[in-house]
């Protein structure tokens, strides 16, 4: 039963991936006219003849000289070799290499943020649920209201302004040398942490509130269940009930929201990276967008989608492993 379920989910994830990569292939080919036109370099001062040559050359370089179907085959074949194409940047770097260089820096931000918000969110959420209706709970309530209504990038801007420019506690913008000089020495790691402080803080704020809320809600839900009431009736101490019975069961539904955060781990920081000029995947994507570097853009897009599909799949399977009560595949 379980094995067939796992196989089914994996196949379904594969199906979604195929659909997504097909979409990804066709989106740049949408619209009227010659799709290769988007890949031509600016004409600048080239003469018409020279420009025609360059255009022809560009068509060949980016494989627009064969039929769309053949292009699609090539594209899929490329994926098997982890080849997402070649950027339009000078020197034509491989998209995969560009992603590889930026990915760790985004992960530094998002993984740290995830950990911090999980730790603080879980603790605070439990506290708020335990002290339901007391001031701890209403602090959470007010923080939630504000954090939903204020866009994250605005909070980030304000942090950059007050903590970075006015108080000069942290670098207001990321120091670009951070990446170039990084050598795993203690100093280099401290520099990275120092620069990451503001982006992480502004991202973690939303995460903390979110996790506190989910934790609070599921803790409260579990508290009302029979076995907790029974446990209390048995005269177990409050802390024992909390840790042994409530938390263990309350944390289970949280895997879904953690899974969601994980799938947004790479693409989720686009705006914050932009605010602090952090050299991660988000800024890479925006660079690609502003320079109309279509191969790079679509390559990142596919990478993000693939990552999200994988994260979803893992979360689903993880959930099955964790919760034996799950009845498989039932939909309302």
């Amino acid at each position: 039963m379980k094995r067939s379920y796992v196989i089914k989910r994996v196949l379904y994830a594969l199906f979604i991936f195929v659909v997504v990569l097909t979409l990804n292939f066709f989106i740049p080919r949408l619209g009227v006219g010659d799709p290769a036109e988007r890949y031509y370099p600016p004409k600048g001062a080239m003469s018409d003849i020279e420009y025609e040559i360059i255009k022809q050359f560009t068509r060949e370089q980016y494989g627009f000289d064969v039929s769309t179907f053949q292009q699609y085959i090539r594209y899929v074949q490329g994926l098997f070799r982890f080849d997402l194409g070649t950027s339009l940047r000078s020197g034509s770097p491989k998209v995969v290499e560009l992603i590889g260089k930026r990915l760790p820096w985004t992960l530094v931000l998002s993984v740290t943020t995830l950990l911090i918000s999980l730790v603080i969110g879980l603790s605070f959420g439990t506290l708020a649920a335990w002290k339901r209706g007391r001031w701890q709970d209403s602090v959470l309530l007010n923080a939630s209201t504000i954090s939903v209504a204020l866009p994250g990038f605005f909070i980030a801007l304000m942090m950059s302004f007050y903590l970075g420019f006015e108080l000069e506690l942290f670098p207001a913008y990321t120091n670009p040398n951070m990446v170039a000089d990084f050598d795993w020495s203690k100093e280099a790691i401290m520099v990275v942490l120092n620069n990451a402080a503001l982006p992480i803080m502004s991202m973690a704020l939303g995460g903390i509130v979110g996790y506190s809320q989910s934790t609070r809600n599921s803790v409260i839900a579990v508290t009302n269940e029979d076995f907790v009431i029974t446990a209390r009736a048995k005269g177990l101490s409050e802390t024992t009930v909390l840790y042994k019975h409530v938390l263990r069961n309350a944390l289970l539904p949280l895997t879904t929201s953690i899974g969601m955060s994980v799938s947004g781990l790479i693409g989720g920081a686009i705006i914050i990276e932009q605010v602090f000029n952090w050299q991660g995947m988000g800024t890479l994507f925006l660079e690609a967008n502003s320079t109309n570097d279509y191969p790079l853009m679509m390559g990142i897009m596919l990478f993000l989608s693939a990552f999200a599909i994988l994260a979803n799949l893992v979360t689903e399977l993880f959930y099955v492993v964790l919760d034996p009560r799950v009845t498989v595949g039932e939909k309302r």
């Binding site: 050359f57 940047r89 000078s90 942290f170 913008y173 520099v191 942490l193 840790y243 660079e287």
Partner: protein, 654 residues
Amino acid sequence: MPRARGITIACLVLLTGAALLQTGCQKTEYLRRTDSTNTLYVGVVESSFPVAFMPWLSRDGIAPTIASMLYSTLFSYDDETGGFLPGLARDWCYVDAQGAPIVTESGGIDYARVETEGVKVLRNPQTGKNERYLTVRIELDPHARWSDGHPVTAEDVYYTFDIARNNYLSNHAGALAWTADLLHLYSNTGQLQLQGVFTYNHGAADLGYPIAEAERDLVVYVHVRGVLGAVTSLFTTILILPHHLWEPVVSRQNQLNSRSPDAHMQHLYQNPVGSGPYVLDAAASGPSQIVLRRNELYHQTREDSSPLYTVETLRLVLYQEINVAIYAVMQGHIDMLSAGLSPNYVKLFEGRDDLFLSIAEGVFTQTLVFNVNPVASEQTPLRRLLSDARVRRAIALAIDTDMLIRLVANGAATRMSAGLIAESLTDFCNPSADILHGEHAARLEEANDLLDQVAPQRDAQGYRLLEGERVTFNVLGHPGEMELVAFLEIQLQKIGIKIRYQAKGNSPETTHLWTSRFDMTLHGVIFSLANVDIMLNAHFVALGRTSNYGRLIEPELAAAIEEMRSTLNLHRKFALLYDLQPVIAGLFYKVPLYTPQIISIARTDRYTGYEVVPGEVVFNSTNLQRIQRVESPGDAEPSADDGAVSRCEPGERQ
């Protein structure tokens, strides 16, 4: 057990909080502040640094600047005189059929004789037509060296020109270099159809071009089309490649411009060997930083044979946003910025004596272009109105350029004459082309008189009417130009013409320019002595879809420009340029608005002796040759604004 878990969680929270606070107190040490070497930290505002240093492949952003520091051209152009300054080559001349120089007694080029003795005719095997051509003799500097120690020879020049023309091997990379006027022709299958570059080893003797044994490695003869401009691009834009490195690597299977270069070529891309004043330190460079070290083998030196360039090491640091870069300069993370700044920022630097503010003469002129000749399907009554020169003249008269300079450009701009040649080129600028001067009130009156002849009716708001419709034009521009359009709107209101901003598409293909679906647009033009023969043609003669900025058809002007391009007498060419300016001005086809000045900043705490170089930001080769490292022990001493920062306890770092 449960209690322990609670403690663990609490500890984790405390630890993360403490770690964050701790890092906050340890201010990042920026290398520059403690760097006592002769290293200039330059901020570059760019989306990314180039990863390949093949000069022909990297044509945008900072890449050409870096390429020009790693490689050299044969000559450089002297913008003031129109002559050439030595580079890899030290001398050149036109020669006659026997290879004898066509020079005057004083050694200068004898233009009168170039037209008679210099021009020869050959049959172009590709077109089958006869072609006028000139032969040019180039003599290299014997001291020139590649950064790996090899001498720069005539074979390098031959190889560079040859592969630029050979699409079979260079995969069209050569088309990116300006070699179109070089009569060295290849077929698409890589067969040499017509040789146009000759050296000792490549057939110079066969054509009777003399090369003495002693200078067999130094002399190159080339055949160029019979126009004066031909040598300009060959001499000043083509960076010469080392043939001893490239020739063994480039092949039909491994083309120069390949998207999937093999390991050898990749190595050459990433570890360039050039003959320029700097060499790349590939090991220290990366995606966000490029390190250039002075080329100690560089052939040009000072008279006392000390290095021409005073700065030993250049560290280019990538910033993707201009504000981030300005912040970095003000905080002292970098020495200077290789980017032009908006005049709005000037206020930010006021009262900072640790900053050098460079306000240099600009290179491009912002012009208002009228669509005088739309394609038939895009013709409208209003555009027909624009083809009336009186209307264009009236609009030009109504624009108060002084006000634009003062208010839009915040005073950081200069006027440009309607002939579009900068006044600083005193020998070439024709004062009679400056027809848009005079008192603004009188000009407005004249403009209104002119328009009353065309469209005398006005509506209640004072706007002119054409067939009952308000005369309204859209000005195509990008969002940064909105305020300029807003100003023009106010100014043209005074002559009863309404204009509105219309957004350009984000690529040429989606922009209305492409199909001539616009009334007016804003267009930056650059006319310098070096490019004027090509650019006048592109702006006022060509009717191609891609050079579509209003499609002017003016046979007389076109003929004059053609003559200017094709004459072989430099004096005649410059005389024509002088005469053309009033004609161009009188067409009111591109009305100059202003020439923005180039604003840039540098810090003065580590280097001094900056100079404002016309047309350049503070990071330029003149300054690299002039500035001096401040020799003080207190290099790492915090500057004024850093002093107030140390409010946290210093960590274990100094």
